[in-house]
Symmetry: C2
Subunit: 558 residues, 2 copies
Amino acid sequence: MPKNREVARANLENLYRIFTVPEAPDSTLGAIDQAISDNLTGFLQTHIVALERNLEEIEADFSAAAIPEDPTFVSEYTEFVKEKLVAQSVHTAAPGFIGHMTSALPYFMLPLSRIMTALNQNLVKVETSKAFTPLERQVLAMLHRLVYRGDDAFYGQWIHNSRHALGAFCSGGTIANVTALWVARNRLFAPAGQFRGIAQEGLGRSLKHLGCEGIAILVSRRGHYSFGKAADLLGIGRDNLVMVDTDANNRIDLNLLKQECRRLREENIRPLALVGIAGTTETGNVDPLEAMADLAAELGCHFHVDAAWGGPTLFSDRHRHLLSGISRADSVTIDAHKQLYVPMGAGMVVFKDPTALSAIEHHAAYILRHGSKDLGSHTLEGSRPGKAMLVHAGLSIIGRKGYELLIDLGIERARTFAGMIRQHPGFELTSEPELNILTYRYCPHAVQQTLAGATAEQCGCINAILDQVNQLLQKYQREAGKTFVSRTRLRAAAYGSREITVLRVVLANPLTTDEILSAVLAEQCEIVQQPEIRSLLQRLETLCAEIDAGFRAAAGCF
Amino acid sequence: MPKNREVARANLENLYRIFTVPEAPDSTLGAIDQAISDNLTGFLQTHIVALERNLEEIEADFSAAAIPEDPTFVSEYTEFVKEKLVAQSVHTAAPGFIGHMTSALPYFMLPLSRIMTALNQNLVKVETSKAFTPLERQVLAMLHRLVYRGDDAFYGQWIHNSRHALGAFCSGGTIANVTALWVARNRLFAPAGQFRGIAQEGLGRSLKHLGCEGIAILVSRRGHYSFGKAADLLGIGRDNLVMVDTDANNRIDLNLLKQECRRLREENIRPLALVGIAGTTETGNVDPLEAMADLAAELGCHFHVDAAWGGPTLFSDRHRHLLSGISRADSVTIDAHKQLYVPMGAGMVVFKDPTALSAIEHHAAYILRHGSKDLGSHTLEGSRPGKAMLVHAGLSIIGRKGYELLIDLGIERARTFAGMIRQHPGFELTSEPELNILTYRYCPHAVQQTLAGATAEQCGCINAILDQVNQLLQKYQREAGKTFVSRTRLRAAAYGSREITVLRVVLANPLTTDEILSAVLAEQCEIVQQPEIRSLLQRLETLCAEIDAGFRAAAGCF
């Protein structure tokens, strides 16, 4: 018994130690911490292994399903993290990693993140966040003002209003989009007379109340997949997420949109919301927001703009006009972990009407009491970290002009890269950059010429081979670990309305230079020399020769 | 022109600097960073001002709604953060801050968080998270095993299965609960014959398909407010969130629950899910999970357990039995930022059936492709940070036995504190601690005696005054900033079924000692001497004297 008690006391002392004794600076973890502080770029370059290991091999290190019985030394665990996790993670900050919406982080984000973690505030209520609550409210007001340009009197009235919030801070754009549509749905089915509103009575009764068969969300085919989730989650159903085809520039086709609205009316389905996109995820295009705002007004429905990516374009005097009409949106999503350069996990939605969020308001006895300034009464999420601090830091330290530079730089670079692709005999630009995203594919000029004159069937055959080429190209490039582009499938009239595989590039990392962009293309030209792709290209050459011969025959060249 | 170009170049160079040049160790930010690394506790104690400033005063520092035009020096901004934000935040890690579910953090969480931030992975897809994906899958498997105790073969089959996920990693318990009920709803309305399922057809048609008027969620009155949000969000309606009254121990009353089920059947409302709570937010009680599992089986409905707080009790050999029946749940929520001691922003839901999450599966062309191991195809959120790493670290470094110690310690401390309260002439225990949460109120023994014999109306009068006393007591204590308890309102048969205001204590910080608990009570006894409370207590004394006189008269003492 006394011996057991001794063991118990020793265990308890060890336990206290992890809560009270810091890591020694010369410990393994202390050393890594220092290395990151001293030279983040160097740390990432040194510790992340470039060459891709097979995922199945990596999984072997993460396959024990039992929670370890006994404690592990921090030093031992840190070795594991270094060798098995950090080494096998993705260098998302690398200037040659231009395939996804990731970037290098400003240095100050790291120590400020540590302050945030150390304070461990919970933004759901003032009692666990105090100054962080007004700070988050200020950040929401700043983004609101960026979009809606209200005056000082407006913000003076609403910024710290205990009954309302100008927006909701979220873990990301998906929750932001869901929140916007949740608000729209609850406002459409607001309490009226005997009807106590959808929040109370549910969707089934609400449909009966309005006497309609269903409600619909309309968005272009380029809409983010979060709208599919929202349609499912909110009980609307994916059938009523109307994905409207786009024009040649990946913008929603207004005629088709109006046609769909007419169809919905005939089917007695009420349009809940039009969604405009300011920076489509795949191609970076901006929908005709003014025209959509007009249509939404005509329909009397909610107008949401998903500016998760493109919102910060508003910082730029030169390019702001691209988003013209955004201030007429009822709600706008902007992600901070994208072009505000904040670490992963920060999105926002702002509402034109400062009372809009009342539609989803909720309270609880121990927190979120009526009249409190607790932000949790207007968010989908409950407990949340103080990430707004990092947005606040970015806006303060980088400033409007700094962000403008970043935006201008990205758009300029995208145009430069588009030029390189256009002039290169091996590639085809498949979407013009409007903001800082573009798509292209490996497709030699000769093949492009053949495609221009080929029948739909012949195009299909050519594109099928090109799809394979580009898919392999992207895969091999990723695996080599030097540079990275992503890939997606796009449908476009120019390609016989069939989907084709394209390479996708996002240019938001200020450290990406023109030289790196040249290197990306050069590497791709090398990769297509690999036997597997080479043989596909030979098949393609033969096919094109046959088709071209057919042209010549038809044109009487023989 | 050349001058403008020079300015532009200088601005650009400054911009590059924030992405490439680390903070100097002797800079303001570098110094804070070092101070936190060297001595977190000291940093928090030194920099957070204890005495509460009025929220309106704090707001003055966060009231500019315009985004600053020009950049600010990091050092200048850091001064602002130190003086205006850190100083005015809440010392959630203080051992005397026992009012909410916050605690001190293990030291290793800070440098590991920095590694996480520096890597800036995005868990939505393997292409931006690589080893973090198997790591998160392992963490989900570990928590799954903690709850469901599957064997090695089971986890070997499912842990890294590309078509499924054993659970979803979320930003917190609210999203976890919503995800669980979303899955339950979509499984109830699964595709069948001509019916293509609710995800596709929406809730309106789904109700018609099953021929029912609505669907309902049943949970006790102690259920977390996230269930209200879920009922609203999922289109169910708060009317059909049936909040069942509890027994004297804050556990769901099974007879009333069954009665509600009968009522629903009569109204042709289908029970979607029973929700059992393992650790109610306000009182830390555990519902009779076995009996609820039986009932759910009988009804053929989903059984969800919200173990956001209490889940880690499963680590304890001594107390695990309190959650008996949890392994029969279809889904279980566990928060990592609560009793797994991970920084804010980490929750999880695990599903007994490893294919359950298919009900909310979604795909996209550029990521989340069919057959990929991308975790984003099974989560409500989209882009997410690599927080699972910190859960992995906790489970590895603290180990099952370490967490067991923490759980045992908390429950023991709660019992000790309950004992102190019971023996103290000034206080009344209003809920017995079952886990490590309890409630009590300031209510002198003499008043308790009067209450015991008083009529419902008299109780009402006494409790109304006591409510004011306790509300002020909590407020003054919070403002003084030495120690902190929270408050809530509880309804209980013992108090004439009216809600009363109680003080709430959560004992999960291992640094909270018995001495601190004594000090909390001592401080409260001092606070009630303040004039405003003193005069309330005098009114109470008079009232009780009158009532007692009435007793004596009735008993023929005069």
